[in-house]
């Protein structure tokens, strides 16, 4: 992520996550915005502030061919707690995203 951001510019990057629940999605989102909350790895203390969404959020879903979405994602959409994921992701974006 860090390398891509340096190569293409942070404003040109959107991160799409596929985590299975809100907390895990939130942690990943925090890592690419405010920096790695566990202070491990290359993003510890690095505030990239990138745009970040979960694949089940409407912003991403609306961009995808409905047939492909049906084939690849719809089953997991039924299993996951989408409201919790959206709540968690929105909170992280509101706090740390620099490009909205």
């Amino acid at each position: 992520m860090k390398e891509f951001t340096e190569e293409f510019g942070a404003e040109n990057i959107v991160i799409v996550l596929g985590a299975a629940e809100g907390e895990a999605a939130g942690l990943a989102a925090e890592t690419v915005t405010a920096g790695d909350p566990t202070f491990a790895g290359p993003l510890a203390g690095v505030q990239l502030g990138l745009r970040v969404y979960h694949v089940c959020e409407p912003e991403i879903k609306d961009e995808v061919d409905p047939q492909v979405y049906e084939e690849q994602i719809s089953m997991m959409e039924m299993v996951l707690d989408i409201d919790d994921i959206i709540k968690e992701m929105t909170s992280i974006r509101e706090q740390y995203c620099k490009y909205n």
Binding site: A20, E21, E23, A24, E71, Q72, I73, S74, M75, M76, M78, V79
Partner: protein
């Protein structure tokens, strides 16, 4: 004719000292910081043998409780105890660590396991009372080592110490001065795996009416590798374990597929028997020291006991159709292929719905699914969620998408077709196989007629591919035709005579 499952056994060795000294989470932590607070805390979080035996999921693993009974207990299970818990169960046993170290010595044919004198004498007495250990196998305890000799091996010759109750009681020597594949560390892992495999096989043979000398082939499917630097994964745990278990007429080999290994191995065993190559094939695997205390940091942080203190094993006997035992239906095969894709939807469809559809079955036609039966008491506090439940939700969601159930029935589907997880988190151990013993029993008792076994493997961990893997099959009630369908020589002669007669008749007509 399909081959059948004649029996299944399950073994646990309680191994708290190996958690501390051999689990990779701990060994890497010790390398990074030998004074880490975690290591001190961990030692205070270890369970006693009695607590390990009384742990509800462990009693299920060895068959003293059913998965349905376990479901009646709310999490966390580590705060409760099984009433009347026993070391021995219908399917196997939970062995204390000292006796298991003794089994490692019995399984060592290269004099690499060295044990201290007092400890050896204790073990000889204790294992002398074990019903499955032969008196001749106890002779290995008659040549113990002096403490000074053990110290020298550990300090100067890279031997790996063996601890019991925190005290050094022996060591495992390196099997070569330079060869890393034969280092004391690798030999330790492999002897633990072999010993737990041997005990699983011994329990299996004890439960079934098939004699040891009738076993023609053994397939071992753990996640360890034995060999030397010129053939690191050369093998062969299967034959090595068969030797100690007394399966004199068996050969065999190792099958690997990460956590999917056991399911691959069962398919191969079922095929070998169905094809008529062998009458009886044993599929078996021992456990892993590396995975002991894998999630220990989370458990300790949360003030829980270190629950990953079990080296586990299993063995399954596949045999020719006896007209009674449940059949392995090799015509309903789920396969995650190279081209399947990696989305959860693609994976779960390929392993369940796609296979069942070919046989004209729906997802709801399978009574029970045995997936990754990881114990949620262990995985949930470590942030890995409830693994079996997540799998059942996915299968249920697939059923809803296919119109087999209503979306609102998803929770009911999970309850009806799923189970709570009870297996120790040892990779290949929870993968599908823990339910084999119960499935056999449930099918024989007519409680269910069809169970699907799903094995999945994270191949990418080996860095040779980015792919994931999985295979599945259905275990079903015996059609009862096993015996009667067998064609006698006389019938064959009659059939040939009849076709020759028909053929001659056609020639005359022409």
């Amino acid at each position: 004719m399909y081959s059948v499952v004649k029996g299944a056994s399950y073994f646990i060795a309680h191994a708290p000292d190996m958690v501390v000294n051999n689990g990779t989470t701990q060994t890497t932590q010790r390398k990074a910081d030998p004074n880490a607070e975690y290591l001190t805390q961990l030692e205070k979080s270890l369970r006693s043998y009695e607590d390990c035996v009384a742990y509800l999921p462990n009693q299920v693993y060895i068959g003293n409780m059913t998965p349905e009974e376990l479901e009646g207990y709310a999490l966390p299970w580590y705060e409760q105890k099984a009433l009347g818990a026993q070391r021995k169960g219908k399917y196997g046993e939970i062995m204390p660590e000292d006796e298991f170290i003794g089994m490692m010595k019995i399984c060592d044919v290269f004099d690499l396991v060295k044990l201290e004198a007092g400890f050896s004498a204790d073990l000889k007495e204790k294992l002398g009372q074990h019903a499955l250990i032969d008196a001749s196998q106890l002779e290995v305890f008659d040549k113990p080592s002096k403490e000074a000799e053990l110290r020298k091996l550990i300090d100067k010759e890279h031997a790996e110490p063996i601890y019991y109750l925190g005290k050094m009681v022996g060591c495992i020597k390196a099997a070569h001065d330079f060869d890393e594949s034969l280092s004391a560390h690798v030999i330790f892992e492999n002897i633990v795996s072999k010993a737990s495999c041997v005990l699983s096989i011994l329990h299996l043979m004890d439960q079934t009416d098939v004699a040891k000398d009738e076993i023609a082939y053994v397939i071992e499917c753990s996640e360890e590798a034995c060999g030397d630097m010129n053939q690191r994964g050369g093998g062969n745990f299967a034959k090595a374990a068969a030797e100690i278990a007394g399966l004199t007429n068996a050969t065999g080999c190792d099958v690997r597929g990460f956590c999917a290994g056991p399911t691959h191995a069962l398919l191969q065993a079922a095929s070998l028997v169905k094809a008529g190559l062998f009458k009886y094939v044993v599929v078996a695997a021992g456990g892993s020291t590396a995975k002991l205390g894998m999630n220990g940091k989370d458990h300790v942080k949360k003030g829980m006991p270190a629950l990953e203190d079990c080296v586990a094993g299993f063995a399954i006997l596949v045999g020719e159709n006896d007209g009674i035992s449940p059949e392995i239906n090799t015509d309903i095969l789920g396969r995650h292929t190279v081209g399947t894709g990696s989305s959860p939807q693609a994976v779960i469809s390929s392993l369940t719905a796609a296979a069942l559809e070919k046989a004209g079955l729906k997802l709801t036609d399978v009574d029970k699914y045995s997936v990754e039966m990881q114990n949620p008491d262990i995985t949930k506090p470590a942030g890995a969620g409830n693994v079996p439940e997540a799998n059942y939700k996915m299968i249920g969601a697939l059923a809803a998408m296919r119109g087999e159930i209503q979306k609102a029935e998803l929770a009911d589907f999970v309850k009806k077709h799923g189970m709570v997880g009870w297996a120790p988190t040892q990779g290949h151990i929870p993968s599908g196989v823990p339910y084999m013993g119960f499935a056999r029993q449930d099918i024989l008792e007519g409680k269910i007629s069809r169970a699907m076994f799903i094995g999945k493997g994270s191949l990418f961990l080996g860095r040779m591919t980015n792919l994931f893997d999985g295979v599945s099959f259905v275990l079903q009630q015996n059609s009862g035709k096993g015996q009667s369908e067998a064609v006698s020589e006389e019938t064959v002669k009659k059939l040939i005579a009849q076709s020759l007669k028909d053929f001659a008749g056609h020639l005359l007509q022409e």
